[in-house]
Symmetry: C2
Subunit: 599 residues, 2 copies
């Protein structure tokens, strides 16, 4: 296959059946929104993804971003594609209209984001980080800051970055050391080194707006002494034009396993006179703002997982339908067949396909919950959906990205020896996917957030609400007269049982040794939660498909595939839940009762 | 960490307790062999691995092998290391003494091989392929061929290759098209293109001996028309010296995801006058010989999995003990700790450690079975052990390599963002490991061999014998008075139940649709078989450790770690078996009852 093709039929199914756009249309501010408009936007995005971004994916990987005498050059074609992207108004679809955004529901912008990620994740990282900067400024910036930066960030004329990590401060941001010295004019001078800064420098735009965590000299130690600053690459003149170069420079780029076209910068702040910056929001409360942005960014990284999974699946399916090898097992003739006929290849493709559809559906119901939480007139409904979104974001991030790595690895396997040769493209997806369970909080960090802040803290109320919704689906499946759906319901029931068992253990573990024990099982718990949530959504998809088939409406082959896909997932994925629950509840001993020097 | 360190303590434990060298000493031809001699060899190999091979691993990856005007140049230091390797007599440890080999038991040479793979798998591939050529010539070569090639291949003065794959003939060798035209002098002229030829050309030695599958003009179609030929790069003169250049040339090298230092060649045979070759063994029976060699090569690739898993684990453990980040969960103080203290990191390390030990133990009992099958005086004992080895080789190949990919990926995760930066080294292990489930027969091919030739064909007799041995271990664990061991026994019992359930389904499926259904589950079955076999061996390790602790003999910390490791594996790995059995028995429908165009 040559280029990425957006999965529009599946996307439309999700918007009709699983995360119904009709619920968004009913929200204040969304009155003019409907499926036709959404479809028009998604169709245009699909064209841009296939026509402009996808063709640069492999060449960008080969060429990479390059550091040259302090400047960073993006790969050939990148500048032009970025200009088209900004000109097309794609940069900040979901940003509020006050500063030029289009105010699209998150549900729709999430599906557009999936397309950018599927077509070219290295490119998509640039607007993803810009959105983070936009959110921070919207949330905590002064009016003057908003006026100065937001219009140009939202239009895409400038880009933004998030500067958190330092060599000694990765997952543990309390160790941040970059210093911000107050100046008489109310500004600050920043000094320090930040690493792993995505699009920390590049040649796509005239200016880059860095959001930077740093400490004031008198700040308390730990997380409560960290403030957020805005540090433009070029100081902004009175007319809003980029002026003098600020004292922030790209010292080098990392040599990474993948996402080669996305420059990952080491940024030196204040090597000379100090980088000029301004406080954003209250002092010493920078981490709070960062965490709000990070929650959004985590969801976006989950969408990277979905996009990469889709892309790897498309490539594997296309190859399997074209590559001729061997004869069909159990067949009488000796006729050579395409490898899609081989049962083990079908198993791999169905694993890839069913998991990808499950990832997308779960991400979409979470996006829909964010829209409802933001816009619904009733506070109780808002908080119910906010609780659901808060609970699920670490699952979307952790599970989608871990799944993307496994799916991309299966994609290599489907290609056999050709998958190991870089020219084929399958290996790039694996290399690109491998960062996603790491950045914006590793899977371990997501899992700790999930079991601690999202489950144990409220005594399991939010997860019990999700379990209740899963039980509804289970009952509905059990009550159909379709044998396959009844079977899916049984598997879903086993999965939900396992989830409840494990959740009970997590809720019971609050402190000391029992918290350590629960943390050993936190990643298996997150994985199981994702698997069962995916099974729930695919079960609902099968029910919807069954209804359509009963009505003889629409594409029968598409709907019967939905049922087979849910069935496959139930047997191959939901069947893993019980074993994972065992690991959660019983698996801590071997990890904790061994000494460090026995490892 | 800087260099690979051979796991000598663990290796010695395996040779004492799990694959006891005492059983080898009792075999004819092994009378002079004992644990002291084996330890001396292993100690020397460990030094060579750490001191010579490991330092070239990262630099070889960066530099890669290069093609230049038809010649292939290996990375800096490679030639010197190869010379030391050959001079040290390491090339063919397990080769028969008649032609200069050392006749070491496979059990010991397997452990040495694991070290080469752990230190530098790109290097280790060269002697691995040479051994393949040696075996083919030993098995089917004429006396003249043996005299001409074996001494120099065994000494390492020349290397060997296996030429199977062509662009249209990967997993399906029946599609081989390379032609061999008989000449009046009894030789042949070969014409065709072979791809993916490991060390197909290089500058390490004066000559390279290619073993090549090709067809005579009058040969029948399919697998029964393929013959094996020996085609030296340089024709060999009367005195055994390399003479005129043969018409076989390296057209290009593949640009691969990993094993960069190992040249993967496209070889053009007969672009001019035809490459001169000679038939090895009977005509049209080349595939048989290749399969015997391939069985050995498959076991060796399994050892690549073990070595890479060990290396990735060592690197992750070292990093986790050195990297300071965060405070301990559940601790009262705010003191920063090394990440090995974090429960989720411990879980990852224990997964890596316990799986690696399981892989090694299973590989070693299979190697021991090969020794007994080759040397035992009683035919019934020989055939019993041959049946066990035949059954287990696809498991060792498929499961060790798939596990190595997962373990190396976990190794990246333990490193966080640093794992994604190539300089750290963790990512190389993932890139290198990713080829191992593909070459010498993909996991799907191993699984088809396992369920077809190794299980269904004998009606499940060979696997029943293994299950009986697992049940013995289960009973022994249940009968101890140590609570942890009883628990391990229960988990093992659940795992063996699942294995039996799935095996019954496989045995019942012989043809047509039922064979297709069983093939859908073949890879999950292979994975489950590996997991349960590993649990069996770690259970035996725990029993042995418990005995040693009861006797207060030896290193108590080492033995108690063995028990915790088995416990961890039982809760995190054996608990997966039931879900996999479900997928095997019930998971075929979704893969087979969907049409190709629904994928």
């Amino acid at each position: 296959m040559s280029e990425y093709i957006a999965p529009l039929t599946d996307v439309r199914f999700v918007l009709e059946e699983l995360a119904p756009l009709s619920r968004i249309e009913a929200l204040p501010g969304c009155e003019d929104f409907n499926l036709e408009l959404a479809s028009a936007i998604l169709d245009e995005a699909a064209k841009f993804a296939s026509g402009v971004l996808s063709p640069l994916n492999a060449s960008g990987d080969r060429e990479g971003a390059r550091w040259s005498e302090g400047n960073v050059l993006t790969a050939a074609g990148w500048r032009d594609a970025y200009r088209q992207f900004a000109d097309g108004g794609w940069n900040a679809l979901s940003c509020p209209p006050e500063h030029g955004g289009q105010g699209l529901p998150r549900l729709v912008s999430a599906l557009v984001e999936e397309m950018w990620n599927g077509a070219n994740v290295s490119f998509a990282l640039c607007p993803m980080l810009t959105r983070g900067a936009i959110e921070a400024l919207e949330l905590r910036g002064s009016e003057a800051q908003k006026d100065m930066y937001l219009p140009k960030l939202i239009s895409g004329e400038w880009t933004g970055t998030m500067n958190l990590t330092e060599p000694q401060a990765g997952s543990d941001l309390s160790a941040v050391r970059t210093r911000a010295i107050p100046q008489p004019d109310g500004s600050y001078r920043l000094q320090g080194q930040k690493i792993f800064i995505t699009y920390g420098d590049h040649d796509l735009t005239d200016n880059i707006i860095h959001l930077v965590l740093a400490r004031k000299p008198d700040a308390p130690e730990g997380v409560k002494g960290i403030s957020l600053f805005v540090v433009p690459k070029h100081l902004v003149g009175a007319a809003g034009e980029p002026g003098a170069r600020n004292d922030v420079h790209c010292a080098s780029l990392e040599h990474k396993l993948g996402i080669h076209a996305s420059p990952t910068a080491v940024l030196a702040f204040g090597d000379k006179e100090g980088a000029v910056g301004w406080l954003v929001g209250e002092e010493n409360r920078g981490l709070e703002t960062m965490f709000i942005m990070m929650n959004a960014a985590r969801f976006s990284v989950g969408l990277e997982g979905v996009g990469l999974a889709e892309r790897a699946t498309q490539r594997a399916v296309a190859y399997a339908k074209e590559r001729i090898q061997g004869v069909e097992a159990g067949a009488k003739g000796r006729e050579k067949v395409t490898i899609v006929r081989h049962p083990d290849v079908r198993r791999m493709l169905m694993l890839m396909k069913s998991r990808t559809e499950a990832l997308r559906a779960v991400a979409c119901i979470v996006a829909m919950a964010m829209d409802i939480a933001q816009r619904h007139p009733e506070p109780a409904v808002r908080s119910e959906h906010q609780a659901f979104a808060d609970l699920m974001i670490p699952v979307v991030k952790g599970w989608s990205t871990e799944s993307a790595v496994e799916i991309a690895s299966l994609g290599v396997q489907v290609h056999g020896g050709m998958g190991y040769v870089e020219e084929t493209g399958a290996a790039q997806h694996l290399r690109d996917a491998r960062i996603t369970p790491i950045y914006e909080g590793t899977t371990g960090i997501q899992a700790a957030d999930l079991i601690g802040r999202k489950i144990a803290r409220d005594g399991g109320i939010a997860i019990a609400a999700v379990v209740a919704r899963m039980r509804d689906a289970q009952r509905e499946l059990a009550q159909t007269d379709a044998e396959l759906l009844v079977g899916i319901g049984t598997r879903l029931g086993d999965g939900v049982d396992a989830l409840e068992r494990a959740a009970q253990f997590i809720v019971g573990a609050r402190e000391g040794q029992s918290l350590r024990a629960a943390t050993v099982g936190s990643v298996p718990f997150l994985e199981m939660f994702g698997i069962v949530a995916g099974g729930w959504q695919l079960g609902l998809a099968a029910l919807a498909a069954q209804r359509r088939l009963a009505q003889s409406s629409g594409n029968a082959a598409f709907y019967s595939a939905k049922i087979q896909t849910a069935r496959f997932y139930a047997d191959h994925m939901l069947s893993r839940a019980a074993g994972l629950a065992h690991a959660v509840v019983n698996g801590w001993g071997g990890a904790l009762e061994i000494d460090d020097d026995q490892l």
